[in-house]
Amino acid sequence: MTADSFLFWMLAAVTLCSGLAVVVISNPIYSALCLAMSMVGVSALFATLGAYFIAGVQMIVYAGAVLVLFVMVLMLFDLKTELVTFSRGKISGLLKIATVGVLAGFLAGAFSMTIEFAEKTGAATTVPTPDTSKALGTLLFTKYILGFETLGILLLVIAIGVVGLARSKGGTHAKH
């Protein structure tokens, strides 16, 4: 086993185990922390593929900002009552079983298609390039400019919408 493949299997195991823990553990705080762990794992996997810039951004944006907000909000919950609300009831139980079924279907489909594709093209040989961030930037601002700008506008709409919603009932200064 070479160092690269050892690194890959270790990081993949960390990412998948913490991903599994997100859904298995009933305490939402631990779930959110595990999600952060799996984000760090994904970021490290990007780094082993030579996509250092994406790895760094994954760490800054997802692990460093988005999930911190998740954890912050979760800490303000009264966990005991939330746990009971979310883990009892026939409809939610049915929903859970249905979700598991759909997920299993997706997984099986993904596996079989990957194997089929890999048999057709052979194993991919990737050569990590030293600096891909420049190439990435050029691609984003030339070939994929439409998608990039559309996403930017979408995010702007979301931000304005959230501010509008938050202020619609008087915001933080609302009188009850």
Partner: protein, 375 residues
């Protein structure tokens, strides 16, 4: 890591040395902080144990190690014990990626004087230091204490808010040097000021070629945001004694408390190191280039290996002096300025620093394009 056993061994030893350097600098900084605060506030500070109170550090270490080990009844044990350990990670990983001296050429080997050279240096450092918010949240929630939780929420909200201004303020620098790599940035800042504008080369002999002269606004925003990132006064709302006892580390004592301390000083060292690297020429001696120092060293040493080692040593000392200066500013500000109110803090971050950083980015982009465009 390296091509043969010798190189791998040296690189591993280097990792340990950088970590020890960071950890060992903490007691010295604590001493400096106490003596400095005494000096600023016209009192003595620790002066009983040893000459100038220097042995106070050892006494403190013994105290921290022999304190009773306890955890509160309401605490979540796992998070309570994990948080102080995690507190060391962001500072250590970040500090190891900052170059501390010119690369050492020894025979056929080249050893960078830093823990490891990351291609996208600054993105990596921002990434690992953004993980610092988790340690605070884990400590605050794991303690099972309302003061600790409030302190943790404040601290992490503040860290996230100021990260935006911090990240945006250095975009101008990144565009100017055209690289994420810290070594390349330092390389571009050696010697006296020379730059190209509209096809002409403009040079002065009395200014060093430092980033601060090109991006003064970015330097100010970066340094103030760095204070907020490391939760130091005037931004230490997280541990406002009057309101929150001690914030997220209210329930911690002894060595666990010390680990948080080391983490905080680690953050300060990363911030100071980045400040030196972006705006003050990194390890270079002002007005000189790496090559000039190497030529001077060749005159003193017989071999090129020795000259390279001497050059690295001189640059390392130069870097340490600059780093020490900024660490002193951290301490100086702490004992000079009063604390902000929380809404003032958020206003400053979102309504003042973020727009200015954004404006700086856009203006820098336009100027860089204009002066390098062939009209």
């Amino acid at each position: 890591m390296g091509s043969d056993a010798f190189e791998i061994t040296i690189n591993c030893i280097k990792l340990i040395l950088v970590f020890l350097l960071m950890v060992q600098a903490v007691p010295v900084l604590v001493w400096l902080e106490r003596r400095g605060s005494g000096f600023i506030q016209n009192r003595f500070g620790p002066n009983r144990v040893g000459p100038l109170g220097l042995m106070q550090l050892l006494a403190d270490a013994v105290k921290f190690l022999t304190k009773e080990e306890f955890s509160p009844k309401a605490a979540t044990k796992l998070l309570f014990y994990a948080a102080p350990v995690f507190a060391l990670i962001p500072g250590t990983l970040g500090f190891a990626a900052i170059p501390m001296g010119s690369p050492l050429h020894w025979g056929n080997y080249v050893f960078p004087i830093q823990g490891y050279d990351v291609g996208v240096g600054i993105v990596f450092i921002l990434g690992v230091s953004s993980l610092g918010a988790y340690t605070i949240l884990m400590a605050g929630w794991g303690s099972g204490n309302k003061y600790a939780l409030m302190g943790a929420l404040r601290a992490s909200a503040q860290t996230i808010s100021y990260e935006l201004a911090l990240g945006l303020s250095i975009v101008g620098i990144i565009m100017m040097y055209g690289s994420f790599n810290l070594s390349e940035m330092i390389h571009a800042q050696q010697g006296t000021m020379v730059f190209h504008a509209f096809g002409n080369t403009i040079s002065t002999s009395w200014l060093p070629n430092w980033g601060i002269f090109y991006q003064p606004l970015a330097a100010i925003i970066f340094f103030s945001a760095a204070f907020a990132e490391s939760n130091r006064l005037p931004f230490d709302l997280a541990e406002g004694e009057a309101e929150l006892v001690a914030g997220f580390h209210t329930e911690y004592g002894g060595f666990k408390m010390l680990l948080f301390f080391i983490g905080e000083y680690g953050h300060m060292m990363v911030a100071s190191g980045l400040m030196v690297t972006f705006f003050f020429g990194g390890y270079n001696i002002p007005w000189t280039t790496t090559e000039q120092v190497y030529q001077w060293a060749l005159g003193l040493m017989d071999s090129s290996d020795g000259a390279s080692a001497l050059t690295s040593l001189v640059h390392f000392l130069s870097y340490m002096i600059k780093l020490g200066f900024f660490l002193w500013i951290f301490i100086w500000v702490r004992w000079t300025l009063p604390r902000f109110r929380y809404d003032q803090l958020m206003d400053l971050g979102w309504k003042t620093m973020l727009p200015w950083a954004l404006a700086n980015t856009i203006v820098s982009a336009i100027v860089i394009f204009a002066v390098s465009y062939s009209w």
